[in-house]
Amino acid sequence: MLKSKVDEVLQDVNKLPAISSVVSKVLEKLQKPDVNIADLAQEISKDPAITANVIKLSNSAYYRASKPIRTVQEALMTLGIKTVKEIVLLTAAKGILSQDLNSYQLEAAQLWTSSLLVAELSSKIVQHKKLKIDKDLAFTSGLLCSVGKIVLAQFFSPVMMQIKADLKDNQEPFPTLEKKYFGYTHMEVSENLLKRWNFPQELTDVVANYLTPENSKNNPILTSVVHIASILIVVSGIGIDIGGESVPISPFALSQTGVTEADIETYFVHIPDLQAGLADLLNV
């Protein structure tokens, strides 16, 4: 059991994926109801990489701004605080989710593409089913649900042979094997990371339960949305990892969201079209 080694890493800030202090501060400010735009713009401007991305993406076809945007302040005024928050998070996520996870059989480009697609499809499902959920929140929680794999990927080597043997006659969802060998599922690690980064509770709840939506305490509907989106993206083969298609779609998630068999078919068939619309974000 490698749990003690995983624990060691989870307790060592220097060994964990990090988000910049600017991102943390921006998120913190955004959680207050009376956020001040000038103040927020000043905070974002402290990080040149994030500033450049905010301006570049604000002007991209994806966000369709009504006029050219030259500063962070203009981005906040034109696109609104929520969209700029999404861009800041996207930039932070790209920094973390752009690495090869060879033990999971995932390359960096696949990990990023699939994270974006789960995000985008989650947001589309919320809109299509007219659910009372903020579509930006759906996007962000979908984006981050694989983040725990980055920590667990480091621990596969010594047990890879056993995992392969287990996979031969496996009839369990892959997170069951994660738990068996590492003491944690990637969802538990994601939850740990998001808490550490001071992300809002509603997000941590989703990443903690997205493959077992019936366990969601705070937001079962949003968790169900991300569950369905993530399963469909895996079935399409984008970002499918060593676990394959081992997690069946949850009846609980279908009943919570009202997603029908016909909806599943429609969402699946349009995955390539969704991907085409994400070109600007894929190359952040």
Binding site: G237, E245, I271
Partner: protein, 167 residues
């Protein structure tokens, strides 16, 4: 892999052809990767299909590469454009995984099986031999076709192996 080789990613619902030192690569869940390879001319192609048929009846005219029904004739035509005709290449197929048995979505349960069936039917009708199949199960697969000798590198469930059979 030689230094000159160029990796060509075949995306979802996409078809690509390659030759000589090109390497065509795609990743599959329930979708199917259809590999055609002509060992004499060192020409190959991969088609990545999502579904056997267009359930809407309208999408296939706009996006023919998504569906076996419309993609496979295009795949054959693209091989022909490269100077390779039926009789000069054979077919290998990969993917078509399905979820662990459940009754939660007939659609998701059946995608893989239906994809496998349509490819077999098409190849049989067009007298294109299917010489290798690594299909079904619930694993994801990444395949790479090396056009210099037609070998396919298959990655699944933590394993990697080369498949050298080309005729």
């Amino acid at each position: 892999m030689s230094i000159k080789s160029k990796i060509i990613n075949v995306g979802i619902a996409d078809i690509k052809v390659g030759k000589d030192t090109d390497v065509l690569r795609t990743t599959l869940g329930s979708c199917i990767g259809i590999v055609l390879y002509d060992p004499e001319q060192k020409v190959g192609a991969i088609s990545h299909i999502m579904l056997a048929k267009d359930p809407t009846g309208k999408d296939a005219t706009k996006f023919p590469h998504k569906y076996g029904e419309t993609a496979l004739p295009i795949l054959i035509a693209m091989m022909k454009q490269q100077g390779s005709n039926i009789g000069q290449y054979s077919c290998r197929m990969f993917g078509g995984a399905s979820m662990f048995k459940g009754i939660n979505s007939q659609f998701l349960q059946n995608i893989g099986e239906q994809n496998i069936a349509i490819v077999k039917k098409f190849m049989e009708e067009n007298k294109i031999p299917v010489i290798v199949e690594d299909v079904a199960g619930n694993e994801g697969r990444t395949i790479s076709l090396y056009c210099d000798d037609g070998r396919v590198l298959l990655k699944k469930a933590g394993m990697e192996k080369y498949l050298y059979k080309v005729r």
